[in-house]
């Protein structure tokens, strides 16, 4: 029985190694948002297209749950995500966009070529609103409920898998809330 105590360091080592192994599998870019459950910070962004409206935080309340997608024409993962957003738009999902550190010319060209999935787009060339949103890298997408509160943040592109497994069920729940 006393001999078992010599096994204790070994058990401890196994636990520590298992902990580190689990830590290695976690994606370090998946940071929890400080905004979950809180209202969006207030912002007022000019439009990318001078004919279209810009985007303010007030636009994000009322109606139903909507997505707030931070993108940029320079962002490769956003281009990867783009067809998914187009498909969601055709399904009637409300998507607003924040164009981050982009030029209006580049953004306009990008949207003209690939299609525009956004109801409104705010131009955040300086990146202040994006910092207020706690965004580290595009694309990031916030699920915002009808009261303008952030309920979920997707770091990285919305893939069809992410949509069906996580965001669509959440949107359905928020709709009935």
């Amino acid at each position: 029985m006393r001999r078992l105590i010599y096994l204790a360091p070994l058990v401890f080592l196994v636990v520590v190694v298992a902990g580190f192994a689990m830590g290695l599998r976690r994606d370090p870019s998946l940071l929890p948002s400080t905004l979950i459950g809180k209202p969006l910070p207030s912002f007022s962004l000019p439009p990318v297209d001078p004919q279209a409206p810009g985007l303010t935080s007030a636009d994000m309340t009322g109606g139903g749950p909507r997505l707030l997608n931070v993108f940029g024409s320079w962002c490769v993962s956003c281009r990867y995500e783009h067809p998914v957003l187009m498909a969601l738009k055709s399904q009637g999902v409300a998507i607003e966009g924040v164009d981050w550190k982009d030029t209006r010319a580049d953004a306009t060209r990008f949207l003209a070529a690939e299609g525009n999935p956004y109801d409104r787009i705010g131009d955040d060339e300086a990146g202040h609103t994006v910092i207020d949103l706690g965004v580290a890298a595009a694309p990031e997408t916030f699920v915002v409920d009808r009261h303008g509160r952030v309920r979920y943040k997707q770091v990285g592109p919305i893939t069809p898998e992410v949509w069906t497994a996580t965001i669509a069920p959440l949107m359905a729940r928020l709709k009935s809330e």
């Binding site: 401890f12 370090p28 940071l31 400080t34 202040h128 910092i131 706690g134 890298a137």
Partner: protein
Amino acid sequence: MTRLLVALWAVLALAGPALAVLPSEQLANPKLEARARKIGAELRCLVCQNETIDESEAPLAGDLRVLLRQRLMAGDTDRQAIAYIVARYGHFVLLKPPFEADTLVLWLGPFLVLGLGGLGVAAMARSGARPDTEAPAVLTPEEEAALTRRLEADRV
């Protein structure tokens, strides 16, 4: 040769870290700029994750450096300026994590492990220091006879 090595060493010792803080970002007020540098060295770049915002070339790090300087210009204390950024990006942005309930393991874990190891060493030292006082067992007559036989056989 030695001189060359000493000179090389001196040059390397004098070299500071390569900071990404651009001249256009720096504040005219050297006191404020020094405070911004001190805070910047404690904030993690969210893009590169293992660099400070002062070291990082990422555009977001540049924006955070500018924002930090705006906060200081607006009269924020160091603590307020740091809290402003933590409110947006969470505690992960701090390279030195705060001492809080969910970071207790992080801060106290090493001491706990050291303590456990110390206890183990102390326990081993105590049991090792006790001399083996048990008297050696006396051989049974059969064993005695077998030993004598073996020794006799070796002698030949």
